[in-house]
Amino acid sequence: MINLSFPYISIARKKDTGKFYAVKQINKNESINQPTYVINERDMLLEAPEDFFSKLKYSFQTVNDNAFANLKGLILKTESYYLIMKFYLGGDFHHYILQRKSLSEKRAKECFAQILTALEVLHKNRIIFRDLKVKRSIEVH
């Protein structure tokens, strides 16, 4: 059983172009997912530079999901917000480190610099990232 109190990520293919996107499903019925938070996230993603943040392509919400309950059983029927973002293949940074067991000092420096630059951009826009971790970062080759 999928617990939908937290945003749920899937890979989806857009039917008219065949392109792949990352779909973030945010359940409306959880009090933690206030509409203002979701709108904030959407606005932030729209303004954020593409170099550091997965580009937001589409966003929409569903009012009643009954019609789409059979979507491979991956998405449960709930009223949700959906953020459709650019999909990167690299996998998360956590996975990247685990694969290599350790990073060389040079590589670690490069990666850390990239993360810091992304944070700098956020801070310039008066946004605080409260929960940064390796699993949040995506490796783009």
């Binding site: 945003p7 990520i9 899937s10 172009t17 065949g18 392109k19 973030k24 991956l74 459709i84 971790k133």
Partner: protein, 175 residues
């Protein structure tokens, strides 16, 4: 349907070298030694299977310098040349992308990116067409209407954004 029909279509490319054989069996023999010594197979055979009786075969060299967009347009062109049935032609027109027959998601994603290099291809790959669905437009403003039904969920990845679930699972495993 005569399977070897497409070989009569002349192409000045290096991939026309496989004209004599039907599915590249002969060609593989002659290049087997070269493949054995090079780490990456530089030559690939890609088969686009519309249905079991209608297959477009494309052989080409130098896979690292070819792009996925090139492969898609080339294969569709070959497929069109194979048949004169207008019904199939209109169906071919609605193909928007290609996907692997054995449902390799990694390859599917790479194939969907037009300017992606084909160096990931194996020596022989069978592809099947991905038929597109029409986008709905708003009648007044002619802007596309995007909804959940415009997407086909391929794979679910898990939770993001909040870490609680991840952390809970991790501590369970480590104990």
């Amino acid at each position: 349907m005569h399977m070897g029909e497409h070989h009569s279509v002349p192409s000045g490319d290096s991939d026309s070298r496989g004209q004599a054989d039907k599915f590249g069996i002969e060609n593989k023999k002659t290049t087997a030694n070269a493949d054995f010594f090079s780490l990456k197979f530089l030559r690939a055979t890609v088969i686009l299977e519309y249905d079991p009786s209608l297959r477009a075969v494309l052989q080409f060299n130098d896979i690292a310098n070819r792009t996925a967009g090139w492969l898609c347009s080339k294969l569709l062109k070959r497929l069109r040349a194979l048949t004169s049935n207008p019904e199939i032609h209109s169906k071919i027109d609605s193909i928007v992308a290609l996907k692997t027959k054995n449902q390799n998601l990694f390859h599917d994603v790479l194939l969907s990116m037009d300017d992606c290099s084909l160096s990931f291809l194996e020596r022989e790959t069978i592809l099947v067409p991905y038929f597109g669905a029409k986008t709905r437009y708003c009648e007044e403003s002619l802007t596309p209407l995007i909804g959940l039904e415009d997407f086909e969920i391929v794979k679910s990845l898990g939770y993001g954004g909040f870490s609680k679930v991840f952390l809970g699972n991790l501590s369970q495993y480590s104990r």
